[in-house]
């Protein structure tokens, strides 16, 4: 396994190691729009389409989609 892969898995584990129970009244920050996975879904979709047409890698974020003649 490449060192960068090990580092990233360690980061993932490290981020999980300090999990705390968040009470409902403490979730205001997590509900902010800027904390969402995709604050601008249309921009994200266009970006993924452009990168799909320019790069070998595509997808991986859990959305369905069709192809195009651009790749």
């Amino acid at each position: 396994m490449k060192p960068i892969t090990l580092l990233l898995i360690a980061l993932a584990l490290g981020s999980a190691s300090g999990c705390t129970t968040v009470k409902p009244w403490e979730r205001g920050t997590l509900s902010k729009k800027e904390m969402s996975w995709s604050p601008d879904p249309l921009a994200a979709k266009l970006g993924e389409h452009i990168y799909f047409a320019k790069e070998a890698a595509a997808g991986g974020y859990g959305s369905a989609g069709g192809g195009c003649g651009c790749n």
Binding site: G18, R27, E34, L42, G59, G62
Partner: protein, 408 residues
């Protein structure tokens, strides 16, 4: 998940955490699972995309140096049907013109690769549309979706379904999904220029994903997704050729000819962290990609989003991308390959890319208007691996987007 504030974790929990992965829900906040939006909304975007002119040092002198200019219009409607269902419909229209890379030829003096471009400007239009229904049933959200894409020489229909389950602690979300697409390619005929071009062919894709999202603390949430995707059918570029100087090469050895299947393995990890000092959110997304054409890539996207209480917002992000080459790729060929696979497409070449994005927005009552810009630059020097020969077809581009959103 253990309610343990110390920085330790049992091996069993660590193993479970890394063994489970999740799907993101694009237009939901990280904790707003299991309910429709409170009001319908409409979003529209107009974008202009322009690729840089092919540089003279990379140009063979054959074809047109001007690359693609594309105008894109997007619209999206989110409609909460009732307390348990929400419909999302979006569509995009593209109008594109410009020349594209055709094949690469070695310079007669230096042997360096030079790009041959298509001659006449290509004009084309593309329309796509998709619909997704979110059905909320207690802790479950079930989301079927369908869509299509059509252009002069390419048509695609696709559909899928994903399921999300929020665990009782409301801090963990498990997700899974599957989707499929069926594509038909029917390239425009040009018997004088390229008599060997196919008339039509098909391509299929099946993609499945699983994942997990986890609230770490009141300011931090992470998400991890594992994706498996398989393509089969005609995966080559019908318009592209390759230069092959082998005297034994036939016409087939001078066409872009890729394997008829491709399996992709993808892991993505996303982090959202609230920075109280700046009253802004930090976004970090990482993706590792590997396929059985032997291409590996890393993508890292880091962003900073600040929304003020006075209606304005500012976003800045940077994206880094690096990929290795397909094992059958070469700028040009001097020998016939036993597997019959060839491609000089820059998209299968080794390189890296940097992207810089900025967005400004202003919200007044129920309206939000925005303006964003992105600059993308690609070069062999940005690759994580050393690259000996850069593909002369690598492209840089600039994207501007004007947006408007209205919440009813």
């Amino acid at each position: 998940m253990a309610e343990n504030k110390k920085n330790t974790i049992s091996p069993t929990v660590a193993a479970l955490y890394t063994a489970a992965f999740a799907l993101p829900v694009y237009n939901k906040t990280v904790t707003a699972a299991g309910s429709p939006d409170t009001s319908p909304s409409v979003s529209a975007r107009i974008s202009t995309y322009e690729e840089d002119r092919l540089s003279g040092s990379n140009f063979s002198g054959i074809g047109d140096q001007e690359r693609y200019d594309i105008e894109v219009g997007q619209v999206k409607v989110v409609y909460p049907i009732n307390d348990t269902m929400q419909l999302t419909v979006d569509s995009a229209y593209e109008k594109m013109s410009g020349a594209s890379p055709w094949f690469i030829t070695p310079d007669a003096t230096t042997g360096e690769p030079l790009q041959v471009m298509s001659g006449a400007t290509i004009d084309d239009e593309r329309l796509d549309a998709s619909a997704k229904l979110d059905i909320y049933k207690g802790a479950y959200t079930i989301s079927p979706s369908v869509g299509f894409s059509t252009e002069r020489d390419y048509k695609s229909v696709f559909g899928g379904v994903s399921v999300a389950k929020e665990l009782a602690n409301k801090s963990t979300t498990l997700r899974a999904g599957i989707s499929a697409s069926f594509d038909e390619v029917e390239p425009t005929s040009d018997p004088l220029i390229d008599p060997g071009r196919i008339d039509s062919d098909d391509k299929e894709n099946v993609t499945a994903f699983v994942g997990i999202g986890q609230v770490i603390d009141k300011n931090t949430v992470v998400q991890s997704t594992l994706t498996l995707s398989h393509y089969s059918g005609f995966l080559s570029d019908p318009y592209k050729l390759v230069s092959n100087s082998d005297p034994l090469a036939t016409a087939a050895d001078r066409r872009d000819s890729r394997p008829d299947d491709r399996t992709q393995y993808i892991w993505s990890f996303q982090l959202r962290r609230w920075a109280e000092l700046f009253e802004a959110a930090l976004h970090a997304n990482y993706r590792f990609y590997y396929d059985d054409w032997n291409i590996r890539s890393h993508t890292l996207d880091v962003g900073f989003l600040k929304h003020s209480d006075y209606g304005w917002s500012f976003e800045y992000s940077m994206r880094y991308y690096s990929q290795t080459q397909a094992d059958f790729y070469s700028p040009f060929y001097t020998l016939v390959r036993s597997d019959g696979h060839y491609s000089s497409d820059y998209r299968l070449s080794p390189y890296g890319a940097l992207s810089f994005r900025v967005k400004l927005a202003e919200t007044i009552n129920d309206w939000t208007v925005s303006l964003s810009a992105e600059r993308y630059i690609s070069d062999k020097s940005y690759s994580l691996q050393s690259v000996d020969v850069e593909n002369p077809g690598l492209t840089d581009f600039t994207l501007f987007t004007l947006g408007a959103d209205y919440v009813f």
